[in-house]
Symmetry: none
Subunit: 209 residues, 4 copies
């Protein structure tokens, strides 16, 4: 409070700077959605953002860094959503089947938002570096999953939990991808139910004997 009074100028500057960055990111996001990565240019960004080209280069060292920043934000927010959702699950008194159903229900929530974000991502993936970064975030999701489902571990016949989490994560990712771009008319409710079956039976597998 006092701080805000003492140093309003600086805060003003910081606000303005953050605004500029947001304008740039927003303009870039729009352009990527509309014309794809190959239709993206710094001149178009600044035109859309309502700033001058010089200003853009005061906040980003080059074009690539803008896309990078955008993707980081996107990946972070996707992963954050998942991590929060997982941590927020109340599994008290639920058996594994019910827990998986609950998780998958959450997983399919906000599908429209994810659809938009995923499209963006797919059209913007530019380098293996970005993929690597996305993976780092996926690891966070995997970790959250592992923690949350830990209570069920002792009852399950699983040798390698890291491998198991990995398989689940990427199977889900693939299915999400398929639903986004798949043939028209696939029923999401049906998909949710199938995914629950897939994951549950993978975890609660019969012993080999």
């Amino acid at each position: 409070m006092a701080k805000a009074k003492i140093n309003p100028r600086k805060d003003g500057l910081q606000d303005r700077a953050r605004d500029k960055v947001n304008f740039i990111i927003e303009a870039t996001t729009q352009l990527l959605e509309e014309k794809g990565l190959s239709g993206l240019s710094t001149n178009k960004i600044v035109e859309r953002a309502g700033i001058s080209i010089g200003t853009l280069y005061q906040y980003f060292p080059n074009k690539e860094s803008i896309v990078h920043h955008l993707l980081q934000k996107l990946f972070n927010s996707l992963a954050d959503d998942m991590v929060k959702t997982i941590h927020g699950l109340d599994l008290e008194g639920l058996n594994l089947k019910q827990a998986v159903d609950l998780l998958m229900g959450r997983f399919f929530t906000n599908h429209e938002t994810q659809k938009k974000l995923m499209s963006q991502f797919l059209l913007s993936v530019v380098s293996v570096e970005h993929l690597k970064f996305m993976l780092k975030n996926d690891e966070r999701v995997g970790k959250a999953l592992k923690e949350k489902f830990h209570p069920y571990f002792k009852d399950l016949n699983i040798e390698d939990w890291d491998a198991t989490i990995f398989i689940i994560l990427y199977a889900l990712k693939g299915i999400q991808f398929g639903l986004l771009f798949g043939g028209p008319g696939f029923d999401h409710e049906r998909a949710r139910s199938e995914v629950s079956i897939l994951i549950y039976n993978y975890l609660d597998r019969p012993s080999k004997t």
Copy 2:
């Protein structure tokens, strides 16, 4: 047949034309592998292909169409491989578990080749159109899968086979993606085994009761 006899000259021309197209596609493929989509230019393509820029524009209306053609070929060949592999499976006398193991073994064969092609693909996908086309091919793979595993259907507790095949296809695709770009040191043999478990238990699920 008759045509070939009557007009061998024309066929010669067609051969030459097909050669030119192949040169162009081959050069484009190499350049995409070496420098990525952003490093691709029509001038570099014709230099590599050993033809003139004018000739390129007699076979393709613009640069984008070359990439499009290339991706179609790539997706077709990937799907063809899978379809052929599936059709070639000899499931005689195998139970479902053994059949799934066999399929997954094939799925992980030639992993290095797929790795290369997938990277290329991921860096080259530039429009939703390409993704749509890829899906059309995946449907062929799904169909082949459905046919091949039809003998096991009657023993399995599955309501919607289309949905089931869809889930399997994209789960596999996601895992393949994860293995390609995932953190170092993930064991492919372990992955193969986990994938077998995932798919088998999904198919041979216990009845709900």
Copy 3:
């Protein structure tokens, strides 16, 4: 002759190409004279040359190479003039004094041309590389001088001819520079006479004893 008939197309192309290069060099020369190196841009060059920017880059890989080419041509022509002049001197029956007078007379001929060229040079010197290149040409002049005046060597009291030639060359270069940019109204005839005295007495120096 026959050649020209057989291959007129190619020659035409070569002619056109040479023309283009000449247009570019000429435009660059004009712009350097008018606005100096810092006022030189590829866009201005092509505007002046009446070609498109793309065409410029078919003949030169970058802007620097144009200036480089121009300077090479300039230095070569300056040195060629000197070398030709020296070789063309008829020293038959002349004593050293007369020979030096004759050389210096030639040296001051075409002063206007040299003035223009030297101005250009001074405003265009851009890197030590260019200076090095100029020196290579000066060595040619020095060599020509040494050959031409060889008949007089035996009568002169000189230990190190290479050093002597070096001193003469650069003393002349400095004086040329001074005359170009020196205070107004310096009499070139007087300068010529003084330079003759300078060089002659340097060569025909009294013995140390």
Copy 4:
């Protein structure tokens, strides 16, 4: 003097202003040495000088004026050195030969420093104006030379002393240039000796008869 007493505050301001100018000139000098004229920018100057871009424009109207100021300072200091050196010569009891030797010895002193400054100069000269200014300074050196060697005049067979001094000045300048950028391995001691011979024999020329 009185001024300093009356208005010390103002002088403080003037001091600060002079400091700022010095910072700017110093930063510019460093950048020219490191990256050459084309690598010089106002933004880099203020960064190096530790001031803001706005401050720079309170002391200099534009970038060019900074370089101009710098070159003036450089030329002044080079000429001052020469003038001081000449005035400081003690020719008492020396004959002309000895006097010339002494002068030339001084001329070659601090060659390393001059080398650095001359390189800088050559890469920074961008307009005939700078050359004109340099000439004004050379006239001062010529004048000092004329005064210092006046005692020897009566014994020498020279018609036009202004022309003679001019020739000597620019001959030396040319040789200095040649030594700076000339082929490797030229011996400076040898050069000094040759230059002495050149100048001495030019001054102490035999009578025409």
